[in-house]
């Protein structure tokens, strides 16, 4: 099974739509795409996870790394529309507190950051 990654500029963020199973076999593909975006100065990223049917700790690591990189660059990482299983691993790992997660892509795109973090 493969993983597909598509990107689209929306308002002031790039929506990165991920589809498939995210594990150590597929995570490098997403990591490459993120590295590419960061190199181009795109540091405001919304990950559309609606089509991600599985995510393990390697997948989580990709999002944590993206958050750490965009934090340094003054950007943001938001997760959108995770399926139940992906939401569960975010909760169990405690990362749901760290990686801002929204029920829909629209909400993630239009979300306002707190004035001071």
């Amino acid at each position: 099974m493969s993983l597909t990654v598509q990107t689209e500029q929306r308002a002031d963020v790039v929506v990165v739509s991920v589809a498939g199973e995210l594990d150590m076999a597929t995570a490098p593909r997403l990591q490459d795409q993120i590295t590419d975006l960061l190199e181009k100065g795109r540091t405001r990223l919304v990950f559309d996870l609606a089509e991600v049917s599985f995510c393990d700790s390697t997948g989580l690591s990709v999002f944590v790394r993206a958050k750490n990189s965009t934090d340094e660059a003054g950007g943001v990482v938001r997760l959108a529309a995770p399926q139940r299983g992906v939401l569960r691993i975010l909760e169990v790992s405690g990362l749901v507190e760290v990686l801002r997660t929204y029920p829909t892509v629209d909400e993630a795109v239009t979300a306002q950051e707190p004035a001071l973090d």
């Binding site: 099974m1 199973e21 594990d23 150590m24 076999a25 597929t26 049917s53 599985f54 393990d56 700790s57 390697t58 989580l60 690591s61 990709v62 944590v64 790394r65 958050k67 750490n68 139940r84 299983g85 569960r88 691993i89 169990v92 790992s93 405690g94 990362l95 507190e97 760290v98």
Partner: protein
């Protein structure tokens, strides 16, 4: 119904999704609750990923799936150079750490977890899960 499957796999990245799909098929045949199945899929994926990452010196590893109506037991065994099972038992990684969550997740998502590892004997990760209910909508395999 009860089935046992012993798998002998090459120690490579592509074995990880392959084993997960086999487990998914076995669980769907037994109509295991979707949430229980999803937790087991993550735990098995993490155990196999641990072998691929850390079992240096081994070119194969073994997975034993024992699936019944009321629960499932899984063992992942390799003859590699071992990992630090004590360190792996520690608490969850800090929120900004981008590694070190795999074995924590196995403990969080399954029962009766046993990890044994030494450079001479290789490693074994054993875990189980009691199924909360039978007859949920299992994902297609």
């Amino acid at each position: 119904m009860r089935m046992s499957v012993r798998l002998n796999l090459p120690r490579e990245v592509n074995s990880v999704p392959a084993v997960r799909r086999l487990l998914r098929c076995a669980l769907s045949l037994l109509h295991v609750d979707r949430q229980d199945g999803a937790d087991l899929e993550i735990a098995l994926t993490e155990a196999c990923a641990n072998v691929v990452k850390h079992a240096d010196g081994a070119d194969k590893f073994e997975v034993l799936l024992d699936v019944a109506d009321d629960g499932c037991a899984i063992e992942v065994v390799d003859q590699g150079s071992g990992f630090d099972a004590a360190a792996a038992s520690a608490a969850v990684a800090a929120p900004d750490h981008d590694r070190g969550r795999g074995l924590f997740l196995i403990r969080a998502l399954s029962d009766n977890v046993r990890m044994d590892s030494s450079p001479r004997r290789g490693s074994l990760i054993h875990f189980e899960k009691r199924f909360t209910s039978v007859g949920g909508t299992a994902p297609a395999c």
